[in-house]
Amino acid sequence: MTVESTAPRKPRRSAGTTGTKSTAGKRATARKSPGTEPELVQLLTPEGERVQNAGTAAYDKYVADITPDELRGLYRDMVLTRRFDAEATSLQRQGELGLWASLLGQEAAQIGSGRALRDDDYVFPTYREHGVAWCRGVDPTNLLGMFRGVNNGGWDPNGNNFHLYTIVIGSQTLHATGYAMGVAKDGADSAVIAYFGDGASSQGDVAEAFTFSAVYNAPVVFFCQNNQWAISEPTERQTRVPLYQRAQGFGFPGVRVDGNDVLASLAVTRWALERARNGEGPTLVEAYTYRMGAHTTSDDPTKYRADEEREAWEAKDPILRLRRFLEASNHADEGFFAELEAESEALGRRVREAVRAMPDPDHFAIFEHAYADGHALVDEERAQFAAYQASFADAEGGN
């Protein structure tokens, strides 16, 4: 790769970004795996062993009293989220959805952080936070409307304190910051969490969100899922140092957590939320994870990344890891897994049926919510549209 290290090097560059030609394969192997990242907070190894050391000390207490029931809950959330995600992917293949953005591989980051939240906290997602939505109690079928093309989101954000999916990269980090400023003004002790990706970290809006939240000491957690890719661009195209370090220069702490470790994601997010509630202001959490699938169903990752990379990450699967832990610690038996399997299938069926039953919007929906208080031109155009539509009805009636 051609991204330079911060260490001095000579001789001087010859032609900018042209460097040694590297193949995707070489890149993949050169890349560090999360287990070897020194700065990574990890509580469960890929093998499902509980880690406790100097690096985890600050976070252990946030999961110290976690019950087997809660652990099974986390497992269930991840499994059902993955099942929902797989169903959506296949619904897209069947033409029921126009597009789908899979979260495959990111379940631990999303369920861990999502389960750290209180009901009165507020979530600002990107377009991939299906697992967080699940934790908030958003009906999964609600998420599918925009991907089916029947609406642009449309659920009530205040219903579950889960804001609409935001597609313009980075925008929602400012909304989250503003919302958090409002929380502070209200004297409430809720917290706000803003999700974004490694690619998004480059957007000016995200930096401005860091600035505003720091200056106003807003109770917001910036939760960056570094899934290694922004469509076809590896994280090195966005930064030459680990992303969690970005926060420091804005005056608040950043931490990198193993985003494939649901326990660590839960603990670190709880810590960050506690900071927010305590009036200590913003925190950046970088969840180090991997986008196992394509960027969306429109994408073809074989164009830009090697299979080996994906395979290396498969060994760190977030669900497998917790399953190993549950099994080794006898926190879950065969019955649990079997029941969950059935529940999973039922969920898939329910989603499938709900999507197929989703009606196309009425044509007049075009004009429906352009404005809250109305707009003369919209009224005029709606009337013209009605007359035009009626002309066909007339014509048909006349035949």
């Binding site: 642009n152 954000p157 205040n158 804001h163 925008s171 919302y179 809006d205 401005e208 809250a372 031109l377």
Partner: protein, 330 residues
């Protein structure tokens, strides 16, 4: 309060200041945000004294980042606040353009009506004050084209006061263009009179031979043009449009059906400007009434010039009269 106490003679900037004060007093959810709006009271002193009286929590000096200002205002609106955001000058709204166009304008529709965006974006706009680059622009067309936004511009102190009241009460985002060259013009404001709707045009001078349509800073000019034309025996009707989105086509149409001629005047470049939309729609609505094509007087298709050229660039008395003559010559 007696009738006389509620009628004040205020400069346009001061009328906005009083209107903000009234709104801040009436509703604890109203906030004022922007660069230098606090102690300084804004570079035009429109927010003068507000921070002293309402505190730093409601009159918020922001970091120097327009996208951040609008983006956090959106978040505050989602939390139930009603932010009134100041963009320091017209030319500095563009860093916030993405947040305005893709988020502020569309959030209500995206949520199928389940959230509202009561955000006012105040923008001192237009030329005529001899300023340096980026301080004299009229970008209203760039907002009017965008569905989900409302765009207004008062021309006098009374409208400045009342339109700001109405903009703050609106549950839709309102881009509020303040005619900065008129900030110091005084006018009567009756803070108790019940005003007409925000988006309705007003006939500010009746006439029979031709209609002049304008908004914001150009209304005063059009009145002067009408005075000058009157001396030559021509009776011009002057329409203060007040709202650029929606445009009050009914009022323009009513006037044009009477006068049969229309000249639209704005500072913004003519090409793709408000005048184009007005000309197109009024020609459609009044095709058999118009004795002349709708003529437009505005800026040229060139970057806003340095101050010493702005008089040539901006519509002035003679240029509007010239257009009036041309329209009458048909």
């Amino acid at each position: 309060m007696t009738q006389t106490e509620s009628v004040k003679n205020l400069a346009l900037a001061k009328a906005i200041n009083e209107s903000l004060r009234t709104a801040l007093e009436a509703d604890p959810k109203v906030l004022v945000m922007g660069e230098d709006v606090g102690k300084l009271g804004g570079v035009f002193r429109v927010t003068d004294g507000l921070q002293k009286d309402f505190g730093e929590s409601r009159i918020i000096d922001t970091p120097l980042a327009e996208s951040g200002i609008v983006g956090t205002a959106i978040g505050l609106a989602l939390r139930g606040y009603r932010p009134v955001v100041e963009i320091q000058f017209d030319g500095f709204v563009f860093p916030a353009y993405d947040q305005i166009v893709t988020q502020l304008a569309k959030m209500h529709a995206r949520a199928l009506g389940k959230v509202k965006m009561p955000v006012v974006v105040r923008i001192p706009y237009g030329g005529g004050i001899g300023a340096v680059e980026h301080h004299s622009e009229s970008p209203e067309a760039l907002f009017a084209h965008v569905a989900g936004l409302k765009v207004v511009s008062p021309s006098n102190s009374s409208d400045a006061y009342w339109m700001m009241q109405q903009a703050i009460q609106s549950d839709d985002p309102v881009i509020f263009f303040e005619p900065k060259r008129r900030y110091w013009d005084k006018g009567e404001v009756n803070t108790e009179a019940i005003p007409g709707p925000l988006h309705k045009a007003q006939v500010v001078r009746e006439g029979t031979d031709l209609t002049l349509a304008a908004y914001g800073p150009m209304v005063k000019l059009c009145r002067e043009v009408a005075d000058a034309a009157a001396e030559e025996g021509r009776s011009l009707e002057v329409l203060d449009l007040r709202s650029v989105s929606p445009l009050d086509f009914d009022s323009i149409q009513a006037s044009v059906e009477k006068t049969r001629r229309l000249v639209v005047v704005h500072e913004a470049p003519v090409f793709f400007g408000s005048g184009a939309e007005i000309a197109a729609r009024i020609t459609e609505r009044c095709f058999y009434h118009l004795e002349a094509p709708v003529l437009r007087v505005g800026g040229y298709h060139a970057p806003y010039p340095p101050a010493r050229l702005e008089e040539e660039y901006l519509p002035g008395l003679d240029r509007v009269l010239d257009a009036v003559d041309r329209a009458l010559a048909y």
